[in-house]
Symmetry: D2
Amino acid sequence: MTYENYAETVLDELGHTLLSVSDETASDFVNLIDGAKEIFCAGAGRSGFQIRGFAMRLMHMGRQSYVVGETCTPNITSDGVLVICSGSGSTKSLVNHAQKAREVGARIALITINPESPIAEMADVVVEISAPSPKSAKEGQIRSIQPMGSLFEQSEGLFLDCAIMMLMEKHHMDSDTMFGRHANME
Amino acid sequence: MTYENYAETVLDELGHTLLSVSDETASDFVNLIDGAKEIFCAGAGRSGFQIRGFAMRLMHMGRQSYVVGETCTPNITSDGVLVICSGSGSTKSLVNHAQKAREVGARIALITINPESPIAEMADVVVEISAPSPKSAKEGQIRSIQPMGSLFEQSEGLFLDCAIMMLMEKHHMDSDTMFGRHANME
Amino acid sequence: MTYENYAETVLDELGHTLLSVSDETASDFVNLIDGAKEIFCAGAGRSGFQIRGFAMRLMHMGRQSYVVGETCTPNITSDGVLVICSGSGSTKSLVNHAQKAREVGARIALITINPESPIAEMADVVVEISAPSPKSAKEGQIRSIQPMGSLFEQSEGLFLDCAIMMLMEKHHMDSDTMFGRHANME
Amino acid sequence: MTYENYAETVLDELGHTLLSVSDETASDFVNLIDGAKEIFCAGAGRSGFQIRGFAMRLMHMGRQSYVVGETCTPNITSDGVLVICSGSGSTKSLVNHAQKAREVGARIALITINPESPIAEMADVVVEISAPSPKSAKEGQIRSIQPMGSLFEQSEGLFLDCAIMMLMEKHHMDSDTMFGRHANME
């Protein structure tokens, strides 16, 4: 296949996965984030990279956001929300984080392929993205040509970027006002 | 705007940016990567997250890949290629890296909005993605509704994932063979 | 207290903790590292920073070392050794890593305050550093003036640096030969 | 040499380097940190690991601290202080950061071997640690048996931990009060 073929197929797959999330679920997710004093973001592997992009944009908006595992991330409390990206919804370290968040009374949002997973059971909002890995696709589901969890990881990144725009609209922010806190040492 | 509106607009924008890269340029990029013994990946901010996803997939494929700035990343030599993601093509720290790579005889690939930037001048392959920030869009270019560099960052991530599939095809690999080296502690 | 008072007290405390490790234990640790094809390093919080310094020095020596959780870290196999720094020896995520390492037949080394912890039970070599936190010190043990786990973290860093010198001696390396692979982009 | 020999030599070397810093310089450093609203920490390689330990302890104390290059680190402003660890005082990326900090009116503290370096010239407080690398030691200076910058990196870590205790004393904090914000997800 040519690059153009690959690009078109990926875009087509993303059309399915992104539009598999309803407006209502997206709003629930955005409202949960918006109501939190502190937002803790967690994910493993390539999902971890996507959610870091979300944590960074929240910081650009002036929100108190953190990535679990980074140096200056404090303890989560009942004022916080924990946002987890996990395709399986059962990554061990992330299950531990969710349990701890529950324990202290924090809220939890999960972005996942699997809405019946251990983390989903603990979550206040579950954003299901219908992006099964090539192997686990069931009948009626999209059968991605992409390896491993790529389609899910791309979809969660784009979903989170849409959520940022919904938050910006809510707070009447634009690209210029966000540049205010963009890192000047990098 | 609703979530659905945002998602559709983002997908539409990505259709423009991804297909602004030619098959030929994509092949040049893939061949440069494929010919290198060691692949060093560098990017700042959200571009840095996208290119880490690429470095990880290369590792999954059994390639010797590194992220500049991580703990066990060694020196680059003439056997290496440095892959840089930089919208502006002029981020200071990345210009320094490119100069060092040049100095030791390594090859350089750049993914950028700006093909006339300092790093582009040093690069062997320049992948131009036509994804200007809302402010800098010129006539005839897409005027993204997304804040800051979001459209570029999304596009580079998707471009790199297409490049991975082109590499997989070249080496007759599939999703299963790649799981071999997927981290089992995370 | 003046800075000088603090510095002298810290040095005095380190004299106790470093010399609480026997030559024999140190040799066992060094031999375990030396015999491994791949060395995976793991630790949380400030212990994580100390062990990253160790992973970096191993890379400088030309060894194949990795930090668990970084981008290009592959799966551990029976050829690998997992080196864990954990004061309590029971940090959840690190217990999970140790279990996984055991499962695939890898060896485990632990540096800890607590030789009767869950990870210690799984470890091939346990380096006990007698550096209890101020609160948990028992009779006969040093009662540090330093907060939290500082004394342990300092001690493990210095212990690991001694281990590096023992490895260098074993392989007739000196500071100059090690600069070979020092990162040239940073 | 045995482990015990190495440990004793390292401790002896640290006795020289730590006590090469005067009470007055240490106080100047502590006061600069204490007066800042936001504290940005930067360092490359193993120096970077030591200063991350400092950034983490500042967070434990309830201070607003950041590591340059991590996800949620915002821009530095005139209310901030930039703390740099750099043996040479001339690491390119860190020189760039110092220039940017100067530009916005932030204060700068440098911990270094070289008080006549480019960063030292821009710094408000320079903490000189007399820990030359084996190769660069001049007459009258300690000639470390340790490779590369190990002695400097150890010394800066211990110096920073002493600074933390001086800050704790100033604010009547103890180990217990600091555990308040210790990460509960790790």
